[in-house]
């Protein structure tokens, strides 16, 4: 695709990766699948190393990463949204946070340079898993009738407003939530990847052009590429955090209808 003298690849080619093994089968392995496996292995390694016996009193290295992660999820996510009874969900939420984070952060890792969550597969899978979990927990905590009543007819709302609120809550809680959760993560990673690719191609083309192109590359596109790389590291963390905290909010809302 030629845009203003830039040979820009079609958008789908930036996200669609060919199969490496088992091509044409439902379990074909491509770069996205390998990144998911890599995110799993890295998380397992961190927690396996961190869980060993340590003689030092002050945590360092991977131990610090794992403990900070747990503490962060517990204090900044669970305690803020569910409360102390939500501590039993910390392992699940920690797993989700690290899995999403390491699937996102590959966006800025040299040679990998692709966020696996810019593919819809895992965002929608995780979002549907969250949808099942918070609905099951809601029914378990309040009973089916109570859960539906509290979800569709939020307490404290004037009865006349139920005409408007109930359809909105029905669509919002039971239909839109998983998709909004998935699309937020997916779209952010797609946009981030496109930004990085755009500035990378722009820099490469301008460097190749020489002369004024060098000036433009060094003065604009290349600094922007560095800036956007830093920004995307932030986005990777932020999106993992947002997905996790929204999951906790949904769980908290389903087991505490008064909130």
């Amino acid at each position: 695709m030629n845009v203003l003298a830039l040979d820009f690849p079609p958008v789908s080619h930036l996200f669609q990766w060919p199969a490496i093994w088992f091509e044409g089968t439902p379990y074909a392995v491509n770069k996205t699948a390998l990144i998911y496996l890599g995110a799993t292995i890295v998380t397992m390694l961190i927690f396996a190393l961190a869980g060993r016996k340590h003689e030092t009193l002050v945590p360092a290295g991977v131990q610090h990463v794992a403990e900070s992660g747990i503490q962060f999820i517990e204090e900044s996510v669970v305690m803020q949204t569910i409360g102390s009874e939500g501590k039993k969900y910390v392992p699940f939420l920690t797993t989700m946070f690290f899995f999403i984070l390491f699937s996102n952060i590959t966006e800025v890792i040299p040679f990998l340079q692709f966020p696996a969550n810019s593919r819809m597969a895992m965002p929608i899978t995780l979002a549907l898993l969250v949808w099942v979990i918070y609905n099951v927990l809601g029914v378990k905590a309040q009973g089916l009738g109570g859960y539906l009543k509290n979800s569709l007819f939020p307490p404290g709302v004037p009865k006349a407003l139920y005409l408007i609120v109930t359809p909105i809550e029905l669509v919002s809680t039971f239909v839109v939530r998983p998709f909004s959760l998935a699309i937020r993560l997916w779209a952010n990673m797609v946009a981030g990847h496109l930004l990085l690719v755009t500035f990378a191609i722009l820099s490469a083309t301008m460097f190749e052009a020489g002369g004024l192109g060098w000036v433009g590359a060094i003065g604009l596109s290349w600094p922007m590429l560095i800036l956007m790389t830093g920004f995307e590291i932030l986005v990777s963390f932020l999106q993992a955090f947002i997905f996790t905290i929204l999951t906790a909010v949904y769980i908290g809302g389903s087991i505490h209808p008064e909130h």
């Binding site: 996205t32 390998l34 998911y36 794992a66 899995f99 819809m120 899978t125």
Partner: protein, 244 residues
Amino acid sequence: MTRRIRQFAAVAVIAGAVVVVQAAPALASETIGSCAFEKLTEAGHEFGSVDALIEVLEQEDHHEELVKFEDDLESCIEAPSPIIPEVNEIIWGGSAFLVLLFFMVTKGFPAVRGAMDERADKIRDDLDAADQAKSEAVQIKSDHAAELAGAKAEGAALIDEARSQADRLKADLSTRAESDIAEMRERAAADIEAGRVQALADLRAEVSQIAVGAAERVVRANLDAEAQRSLVDAYIDEVASTNG
């Protein structure tokens, strides 16, 4: 590093290497031009050469092959919707997540949490022990201060007692010395007085004897002995009263 962790590390390195190496073919087909070239080359190989391919496709009875080739070329610009999830990615990603979740719930999380709790307990115990030691030290210090104050007070009392005893002793000794002196003085005075009286009596007797002897010689037989003694005594008394 345990064997299991080494195995994990090896798998991670291999997986990373595979991702890096396999990135190349995907990058190679990133442009529409390269995709079209690839399709043309594939079809050319199928028919022997690109010229042979064009020759075949231009024939009217090969309409189906033409449509297929056009579809192949169009697939270079038509990609599946990026919002539709791929089944293979769901399978691999979902199973990877489930494996990770199982590991985290059964091993990873409890191990790290246990280490955190253990450390927190140790720090709490150490702080409690330090507090305990501190309060004990404060107690010992106050005990020592109290003992020191008691010892000081006892010392001061002993000194006062000794001083008052010394004062009493001094007063007793002084009193006794004074009384002894007075007694000795009285005794001396009495002795002196007795001596004086004795001396006076002796003197009187002697003088009387001498005088009697002398007078006897002078007025032998004129006076009897009794009259002479009375005369002499009267004389001596007179002398004594004048000297006394």
